[in-house]
Amino acid sequence: MNKTVNQKAWFLVLPVLLLVAFSAVIPLMTVVNYSVQDTFGNNQFFWAGLEWFEEMLNDDRMWGALGRQLMFSGIILLIQVPLGVFVALNMPKKGFWASFCLVFMSLPLLIPWNVVGTIWQVFGRVDIGLLGHTLAALGIEYNYTSDPFAAWVTIIVMDVWHWTSLVALLAYAGLQSIPDAYYQAAKIDQASRWKVFRFIELPKMMGVLMIAILLRFMDSFMIYTEPFVVTGGGPGSTTTLLSIDLVKMALGQFDLGPAAAFSLMYFLVILLISWVFYTVMINLDKREG
């Protein structure tokens, strides 16, 4: 049967459109306006053309922050996705312990970013923190305020601690939706554990896993509070991620023009990567459907 196309339903999204315009589109337009002008305060602006874009594109500072950001997002995805799937595979399927695990796993997700940052900031300190103190007692040199490697390990472990549950919960939801018949068929065929995972569980989880990857990528790519509270972007600028650098530029130095150009390029990268993820996700769905 052919469905008739009726585009009138789109009018129902009008209220959302107005809200988004007010809270996102108009502020974004303002950023575009800032990006081609210079200001010395007092809401007085002077035309600067593409100068800020040119300056930013030729500035090692932005490329450095982008590189660190991509490295951060890449590393946490490489850890969180397999770890989350592993946890989901080993969670009880039903009964009291299933509910217990679900609640227990969602706990880190409920903690506000700045609190997570503070927890790890204190936890890692050599003088009063349990982690820092223990590592020092074991003779392992660890100081996230002076050693870039330690700082990186700290913010990555912190993010894994905070967000792996999200991947695990989504993967778990995907696993729960697989009918028993698939497992029974696999049993009859004497499929190995790996083959059950590879040909039944993984394909059936793919949809939610893509959502998990997209969410984790977006969140980690825009992360600000947690690393800012723990390392403040240091030592030096070794953990200065994109948004930390952006805030420094826009609010610390009040360089609105360069910061606007910076944030537009940041936005474009996010838009591009989200579009790629979204397209892959939609096409996976279609292939399954």
Binding site: Q7, V32, N33, V36, N43, E54, T279, N283
Partner: protein, 90 residues
């Protein structure tokens, strides 16, 4: 509107994008279409192709500015060629 720090070039930029969006919306209502699959192996409608064009054009302009650095209007010519290619083959 003073607080938004408007300039004519940026206003023109947004007017062009807004009119493109309106045109494509009207086109989608007047002449409904079925999505097609092009060289990217993904289903696209006219709107999708417009999005790919606009996003790509932004990167083309930035690349031109970063690599060539002068004669920015020529980047728009590259964008037009890119747009034609997207609408023809994607």
């Amino acid at each position: 509107m003073d607080w938004m720090a408007w300039t004519w070039p940026t206003a023109l930029f947004f007017i062009v994008i807004a009119s493109l969006l309106i045109t494509f919306t009207v086109l989608a209502i007047k002449f409904p279409e079925t999505p097609r699959t092009g060289i990217l192996r993904i289903e696209t409608t006219r709107g999708d192709r417009l999005f790919i064009t606009l996003l790509g054009s932004a990167f083309i302009n930035l690349a031109w500015l970063g690599i060539v650095g002068t004669a920015q209007p020529f980047a728009l010519v590259v964008c037009l060629i890119y747009a034609a290619a997207v609408f023809r083959w994607v």
